[in-house]
Structures are given as C-alpha cells and as structure tokens.
C-alpha cells in the first residue's frame, strides 16, 4: 500500500505547529497503524529528519496510551478499538490520511501528536479511590454484590483513560471519562463511604481543568474504544445533584494540598 499522510508537526508546547505531508510507501495491509508510523519514522530517521512523536505503550489496546485523531475520528474509523488495534487494511491504497493530536485546552500538545493528559490523573486523584481498613486479610467475596451490579461496575471500570471521549466531543468535555471513574466505585458497596464526596470532588476537579460541559451528543460513547455508555453520565449527574442538593455532605477541602 502507498499512502499520503498529513501529520501535525509541532516542535514543543510553546511553538505553533502545522500540517506536514509525508509519503508512506510499501505498507503492508496487515500492519497496525502504529507500525505504519514506525516505518515512516524509520525512513525519516534515515534521512536525518526528526521522527514523528506519538504516544504508545502496550500496543494491545489495554493501556490507554495511544491516541491520534485519524481522518476526523479518535482512534480511526473502526468501532471499539484503540489506534494500536487499527490495521492498515481499514484504509485503501492511495488514501490520504490526516493525523492530528487530541484537541482540548486541557490536553496541551507536548510535541507533534503527543498531548499531556495529566488532567485525567488529577481528576482521578481528587476522588477516584476507596478506603480500605488495615488488619487481617478478609475472606474473598465476603460482600454480596448482585451480578448485574458487578457487571455494570466492571463495564465502567474498563475505561482506559485514553481521552478519546474528550477528543470526540464538540465541547472537549471529559464527562464520559469522569462518569466512568465515578460509577465504577459508586456502584459497589466498597465505594459507598466516599460516594457523595467523590462525585463532588471529581466534578470540581474536572471543571477546574477547563473541560467543556456535556451536550449529550453521544459522540463520546460512539468513539470510546471500551464502549463506555452515556448511562454513566446520567448516573453521575444523578449522584452529583443528589449530593449537592439533598445530602449534607461537603466536598473534601483539598485546598491545603499545595495547589
């Protein structure tokens, strides 16, 4: 396969970037998208050019490291996969492929196609934990959890935090990510002690990071490689309003944390 790539090149966070066109030649249709970029980078390095920076790690769709906004869609044209699971057979010979980084004020570009997603880490740190008592080792499965609840919580927990929801959203909203993280703990008995403070802290941090708000377009749900559903968002909204309006539980005061 021979392809034309239009790639966003940006030297560092403070530079202005631009689209640069490259040729990708003799690409096997069985290569993954990232292997195709490896081949292009190989030729760039041999020519003495700076290779294209992109995030990747496990290359089996579970780490949430790879990103890339490919031809107008996060993780490319296929449903429910990450960029590393996307194969070149999903494109046709001679196609022009435009590759951009995630675009969001809260995800500043570090270099080329790599963005800083530490805003997600800070949201997670604000409330994405449960308290566990020390002491003797409890028996496994000692707390009864209905199967449907366990399944639903597990579905939410499959979120890998890649940021495709933010990239797909017209408002660059992080609601799908945050709601998955709130849900996976809030639905289980172990997550109850912090349930009402967690949702407040995580939403407060999400707002502070500068993500947009939710218009319920459903683009996030459609692009999520782990098929996290909008149900998580409505569940989080319900918990948030419940916590704010009806429960006498305040957000953690984390102003002393040296922010």
């Amino acid at each position: 396969m021979n392809l034309t790539l239009k790639v966003w090149r940006q030297k560092d966070a403070n530079s202005t970037g631009k689209m640069v066109t490259y040729k990708a030649e003799n690409i096997s249709p069985d290569m993954s998208f990232l292997e195709m970029l490896d081949v292009v980078n190989e030729s760039l390095t041999l020519k003495g050019d700076e290779p294209i920076y992109f995030d990747h790690d496990c290359r089996e769709g579970i780490c949430g490291m790879c990103s890339l906004y490919i031809n107008g869609r996060p993780h490319g044209p296929k449903r429910a996969i990450t960029t590393c699971q996307l194969h070149m057979r999903s494109f046709h010979d001679g196609e022009t492929i435009t590759i951009e980084p995630w675009r969001a004020a809260s995800f500043p570009v570090i270099k080329d196609l790599t963005v800083d997603r530490s805003a997600f880490d800070r949201i997670q740190q604000a409330g994405g934990y449960v308290s566990v008592n020390t002491g003797g080792v409890p028996d496994a499965n000692i707390i009864p959890i209905p199967k449907v609840i366990a399944d639903e919580a597990f579905n939410s927990a499959t979120c890998i935090g890649c940021g495709a929801c933010v990239a797909a959203c017209k408002n660059a909203s992080a609601m799908l990510f945050v709601s998955a993280k709130v849900s996976q703990l809030g639905m289980l008995p172990q997550g109850q002690p912090e349930r009402w403070s967690r949702v407040q802290s995580m939403v407060a941090q999400m707002d502070e990071e500068g993500f947009g708000s939710c218009t319920n377009t459903g683009a996030c749900e459609a692009e999520c490689p782990k098929e996290i559903t909008l149900t998580n968002i409505s569940r989080m909204n319900n918990d948030f309003f419940s916590a704010k309006l009806f429960r006498e539980e305040k957000v953690h005061d984390h102003s002393g944390g040296g922010e």
Partner: protein, 258 residues
C-alpha cells in the same frame, strides 16, 4: 449560600438550570398550542379573543407568565454562557471536520436556540407587547342570543382607550366586548413573510426539541431502561412533530384558506 452558588456555577449545575428551564418551557408550549387551537374554530375570533383576555387577566396565569419570561431569558443566557465556555475548551480546531456519529440537532443546539430566541422576540413584540402595552389593538363586540345561540359580531370603539373587557347580559342577549387580537393575528398570518418566518421557526423548534427534551432527562440523571424509550418517544413524536406541526399549521391555514 456560597455552597448553593458553587452548585449552580459548576458545569453540571449550569446544565441543571438549562434542563429545568427547558422542561418548563416544554410544558408551556403544550398549553400555548392547546389555547391557540381556538384559531381553528370558525367563530369570528370569539373563542380566541376571550381566551387571550383570560390569559392576561387571570392573576395566577400572570404570575406564571412572568416565571415563563424569566425562564426564556435564563435558558438563553445560560445557553450562551455554556456555548462560549465550550468553545474555549477547544481553542485549536481540528483540520478535518469530525466524523463521529452524533445527531445534527444535538450539535447545533446553540444555533437553533439563537434562531428561536430571535423568533420569540419578534413574536412577543408583535402580539404580546401590542396587546398589553399599546392601544393599537381594536375591539370586537359579540352579541349572543342565549336562547337561539346566534352570535352577531360588530366592531366596537370604546370611549376610554384603556378599556379592556366587559361581559353583560341584556334580555337573554349576552354582550361580550373584548380586545380583538384575532384580527391582528389574522392580518399577520396573511403576510407571506410572517408565514415564512413562522414555518422556519417551527422547523427550528422541532429540531431543538428532538434533542432537547430527551437531553434534559439525561442531564437530570433520569434515565432508566424502562422509561427512557418512553421519554424518547414523547420527545420525538409529541414535542418534535405534533407540537411544531400544530403551530406551523396556524399561519398556513390562515394564509391559504381564511
């Protein structure tokens, strides 16, 4: 107090306000359509004029009306604030237009809302403002013989321009004198530009509610495997089709058939 402020200033709080005012406006248009069905009645505007008089003179409705005006302004203002904030969340646009599947109306709620706000301003300026705050609207006198149920209608010019409404009975003849908003509506609906404006506005309303009604439930967190399909059904068939179609039929019927 500051906690309440913090709640409503959060991104979710702003959406809560959008959802609640939006649903309130949805209930209003049901009443508005219901009352306006008098326009289809062939009674020389009697029912419509008496209904309009009732709306402007019954105190509980007047109170709700001001709540309604406030809701329109708050909904529009918060919509603007949210739209601007959302734009700021993505300062650098994508080079390729998004191909993520999402309904057209859900992606254009701000634009649809802006068109509707413009329409509401024109609409209220033409009817509500003229009816309530000027003396430019004429009067009609309806004489109904309560025994034969025969109604005759004549123009009526009150001695005092602040005259609003009277209802008296003389020898089995009921005399109702009332402001004649019906003629104003009828003349407006015979103007081709009004017809076009109203039909476009109702098309806009249809798309706005197609997304808006069910989206409000999602924002409030009221989703349920059993009830969400019902909400979507009502949002699509009732709010996005029957209601806008009913409103749009009014100028169409007047322009072409009356």
């Amino acid at each position: 107090m500051s906690e309440i402020k913090q709640t409503f200033n959060s991104s979710l709080g702003k959406k809560l306000i959008m959802a609640l005012t939006g649903l309130f406006l949805c209930t209003f248009i049901i009443v508005h359509l219901g009352g306006n069905l008098f326009l289809f009645k062939d009674d020389q505007g009697y029912g419509f004029n008496v209904y309009a008089n009732f709306l402007t003179h019954f105190p509980p409705i007047e109170v709700v009306a001001y709540l309604l005006y406030a809701s329109i302004l708050v909904h529009a203002l918060y919509g603007l604030v949210l739209t601007l904030k959302n734009r700021k969340a993505r300062p650098v646009a994508y080079a390729v237009q998004t191909k993520s599947p999402a309904s057209w109306s859900s992606k254009n709620m701000g634009l649809l809302g802006a068109i509707l706000f413009f329409f509401i301003v024109v609409h209220m300026g033409d009817f509500w403002y003229k009816y309530k705050f000027t003396h430019s609207v004429g009067y009609k006198e309806y004489r109904t013989n309560v025994l034969t149920n025969q109604t005759t209608v004549t123009d009526f010019v009150p001695a005092d321009p602040t005259f609003e409404h009277s209802s008296t009975t003389v020898n089995d003849v009921e005399i109702v004198r009332v402001k004649d908003i019906h003629t104003l509506v009828s003349t407006s609906f015979h103007n081709i530009w009004y017809l076009i404006l109203y039909v476009i506005a109702m098309g806009t309303l249809a798309f706005h509610l197609l997304h808006g009604f069910q989206s409000a439930f999602q924002t409030l967190g009221w989703t349920h495997r059993k009830y969400t399909p019902v909400v979507r059904f009502i949002g699509t068939w009732f709010f996005a089709i029957i209601i806008p179609a009913g409103f749009a039929l009014m100028p169409i019927v007047y322009y072409f058939f009356k």
